[in-house]
Amino acid sequence: MAWTRDDMAARAAKELRDGFYVNLGIGIPTLVANMIPEGMTVTLQSENGMLGMGPFPFEGEEDADLINAGKQTITDLPQTSYFSSADSFGMIRGGHINLSILGGMEVAENGDLANWMVPGKMVKGMGGAMDLVAGVKRVVVVMDHCDRSGASKVKKACSLPLTGKGVVDLLITDLGVFEIDKQAGRAALIELARGVTLDEITAKTEASFSVALR
């Protein structure tokens, strides 16, 4: 069973709070934009220089001067503001964004995150990911629990080069949810995905973790 991509995005959406300013990464995190609860005001930041990101444009109304950090054409909203990349990352680095939801390749039990390069493969660059995980108040990673070979991506220690050291607050996988105490460097399993047993997730997790199911 386990969770689908939409389920994982829906679980991530539960981290939203009224009035939050949020940065969403590419992939599953982008889906969260469509799952903001009715009546809740959430403002989306795009790190290329925009606060208040709107939906995709209607066909024929694309504007080459208006894209998000994933280089997709988007629209603005009545409350939108534009600013430079320096101001945008001042906002991020200065801790003004409440929540960053992004993808991962590996997360370690101490909150280390790897999501930007695989040695030996072409490196495309980290973009804004290192700044986001270093600067945003609360960092949520959404990723598959295991890679295609079945190996755990939830690690004792990351084997891939890090994006940030001790930066992940919450990890959502297709099998469950872990809360990470970055100070203590420890992970706790707080939720199981639909149809997933504690035995299954334990077997598929390299990291050590305590169990504190809610």
């Binding site: 066909e59 080459a64 001067d65 991020i92 072409m122 495309k124 804004g128 600067g135 940030g164």
Partner: protein, 237 residues
């Protein structure tokens, strides 16, 4: 007309390019790139360039043209995907790439333009980015020292300029352009329109003219879109 306004992109770069120089260029992906000036940089045939910018164009567009013309030796960027020639030359060791976190790159350029030789940031602490750099603690947290960046030549894309060099950018085409305008020994700007001095509200100028040495109206704007994403008109939103 002011002495800052030039007749075309080639004239605007006349006398400014040389082998081994450092060039900064604005833009995020292909959004807000000085595409006319980039074509003129290609035509200048200046070689062994160090190019600083968030990206280095993408296949067949933007700074890719300069890359494909074998003019680039080194790149400082945060993301270089969708660029096959760059991938090949990087993997083969022909081109050096220094990867910078996007916010660190933006701040390094701002610092360069603002006379700040170095600053500390939490970004990249404990990662490859911090290797060989000074790290230190402030208030119990670890930070990495990053240095300011300047360039021999800054190429900027703005929406509108006046003849004094005051600039206004449009939407997310602003991105790296304002900082890059401050960090060039010489700054050349291409715009879509030159408006009469006094047209801008003085409270609403993004880049004051002091940073701008030369201005040109771009002859042709592709404004290629990398990822055209739309929603159907039937949808309620």
């Amino acid at each position: 007309m002011s002495h800052k306004v030039f007749k075309d992109a080639a004239a605007a770069l006349e006398g400014l390019t040389f082998d081994g120089m450092t060039v900064m260029s604005g833009g995020f992906g292909l959004c807000g790139i000085p595409e006319n000036l980039i074509r003129a940089l290609r035509d200048s045939n200046a070689r062994e360039l160090t190019v600083i910018g968030n990206n280095v164009g993408c296949d067949h567009h933007g700074m890719w043209l300069v890359l494909a013309n074998n003019q680039i030796k080194k790149v400082l960027a945060s993301y270089v995907g969708e660029n096959k020639i760059l991938e090949q030359r990087f993997m083969s060791g022909e081109i050096e790439i220094e990867f910078n976190p996007q916010g660190t790159l933006a701040e390094r350029i701002r610092a360069g333009g603002a006379g700040i030789p170095a600053f500390y940031t939490r970004t990249g602490y404990g990662t490859k980015v911090a290797e060989g750099k000074e790290t230190r603690q402030f208030n119990g947290e670890w930070y990495v020292m990053e240095t300011g960046l300047v360039a021999d030549l800054s190429l900027v894309k703005a929406w509108k300029a006046d003849a004094e060099g005051n600039l206004v950018y449009r939407k997310t085409a602003r991105n790296f352009n304002p900082m890059i305008a401050t960090a060039g020994k010489v700054t050349v700007v291409e715009v879509e329109e030159i408006v009469p001095v006094g047209s801008f509200d003085p409270d609403q100028i993004h880049t004051p003219g002091i940073f701008v040495d030369r201005i040109v109206v771009g002859a042709h704007f592709d404004k290629h879109i990398e990822r055209r994403t739309t929603r159907p008109r039937t949808e309620n939103a």
